[in-house]
Amino acid sequence: MILVIAGCGGGAGSSGTGGGAGAVDGGGNAGTDAGSPPAENTVAVTVDPGPPGTQNVNGLFTTVTLCVPGTTQCQTFDHFLVDTGSVGVRVLASELTLPLPAVKTGDGQRLVECLPFVLGTAWGPVASADVKVGGEAAMNLPVQVVGDPSFPVPAACTGSPVTDLQTLLARGILGVGVTAQDCGGACAQPVTSSVNPGLYYGCVSAPSSCAAVAAPIASQVTHPVAAFATDNNGTIITLPAIGAAGSATVQGTMTFGIGTRPNNGLGSATVLSLDRAGLATTTFPVNGKAYSSYIDSGSNGLYFLDSAISGLPACGASLDGFYCPPAAVGLGAVLSAGNGAHAMVSFSVANAGVLSAANSAFDDLAGDMPGFAMDPTSPGFDWGMPFFFGRSIYTAIEARGTPSGPYFAF
């Protein structure tokens, strides 16, 4: 029986730890050395089961402090999900005790956002906060307070509501993707424009009603790292390699900035520039066909293709969607991008049915890309958390740095 070392911080929003707690499972040497102070542009990250009462698989978490802007009235949260697939800071209303000031529209209405996450939707008002992660801070940042019951969800905001710890499985999300705001110029266009996706609403409270609005860039939920004073062009997530059976918890590091300090250079990493949709290309097998693909720390598995192409049998039943080869299989692929770069990737797919429920981190948990069999032009590869173990993954923000983002590198 493996002793699960979960992060500290029970109860709503109570203070969490700054670094990992003591013992390191997984044996890697990445992450902060317990004996010396961590570099200011880093923060500890962990893969663990998540807040008490949740059961995450391959959930990557860190500690975030929010403050009422310009004050020392702060709240520290453990278990914010570190998500390279989204942008912006989002905190559950049920966890937040701070009176963060509201972000309003030009008409004085409350700015509220409807943001999709796969099947779910994060609905909640935009507020201002000073955001502190590791030794860095973003001041007066627009953040989303998710699941605030003051604002009933309008009919046009569809999707399954994400409202609490039970549905989010984390106290909040630290979205560190490749854009500077979560929507950008399209959401700043007039609502009548066909390019405005209608993510932002202006709401009045009594009686409650909301209508889609144009949200100025400065009011939109913003990439926290992009708003740091320095080290603000991207992030690096470094996790040690783990064994084939997985780990109960894994300790790693997120570093802020790419090429801004001695500790965050690209080194020999291969830069994969992304297209406008954030996609790169995966060729599988190594001399096989090309598929559009993406890298996402917010995905808990490596989801690719289908049984027919991968040669991996589906598990069926309660593990529907995952692969269950009789024994673990070693595979290879090539990741490439429009800038001509390419990198070979070796990966392993375990029998998902034999992975221990006592572990929460797996580098070999894989499944099919649902719907791919019926839709061969959809993305073929979602390189989720299994891809992050044993690597430093660089995520570069659009239009920043040299070379300029958006790109992933490893």
Partner: protein, 166 residues
């Protein structure tokens, strides 16, 4: 309202009420071209969305594709009965799911409400509807279909949910 004997008032009121409700629904229903809707609703949706419409035929069914100025492509699969049995999308932010699932949207919410959020990709089946979603937020993809309306040749290789050759 004409007077009716007390013991017959309720059924008359009920019939009038339900007729009024149906009429109200008909007048207020948005032009959606959702699952189960008639193919004639696709043209109305095209006008509302300022989209380009192309129609192609494959096997026993037709594909009505709306290409939005935003880059999102919405494809409606119509069978011999003239009903939309599947809808797929790609190329942008996730579309309005009521527009896509129509009357089946409530089943989707009932099946997912309170459940842990899916991370990465998802496939669920509930009350005769299969739902698939995934992708990065700005390049989301997905499809829904009704299991009792979908024709057998929909599942053959070379299926064309998003267009282009497989």
């Amino acid at each position: 309202m004409r007077r009716v004997p007390r013991n017959r008032r309720r059924p008359v009121q009920g019939a009038l009420a339900s007729a009024a409700l149906s009429l109200a629904l008909l007048l207020s229903a948005p032009a959606r071209a959702a699952l189960g809707d008639d193919v004639s609703t696709v043209a109305a949706a095209q006008a509302r969305l300022h989209a380009d419409l192309t129609v192609s035929h494959r096997g026993s069914y037709a594909i009505h594709e709306l290409a939005m100025p935003s880059g999102v492509r919405l494809r409606h699969f119509v069978g011999g009965s003239g009903k939309v049995f599947a809808v797929s999308w790609s190329g942008g932010w996730r579309p309005n799911l009521r527009d896509v699932m129509g009357a089946h949207y409530d089943d989707f919410i009932a099946a997912t409400r309170g459940k842990p959020m899916k991370r990465g990709v998802a496939r669920i089946e509930t009350r005769g509807m299969v739902v698939v979603m995934g992708g990065p937020q700005r390049a989301s993809f997905g499809h829904v279909y009704l299991t009792d309306l979908v024709p057998q040749d929909f599942f053959s290789t070379g299926n064309d949910l998003q267009g282009g050759s497989p």
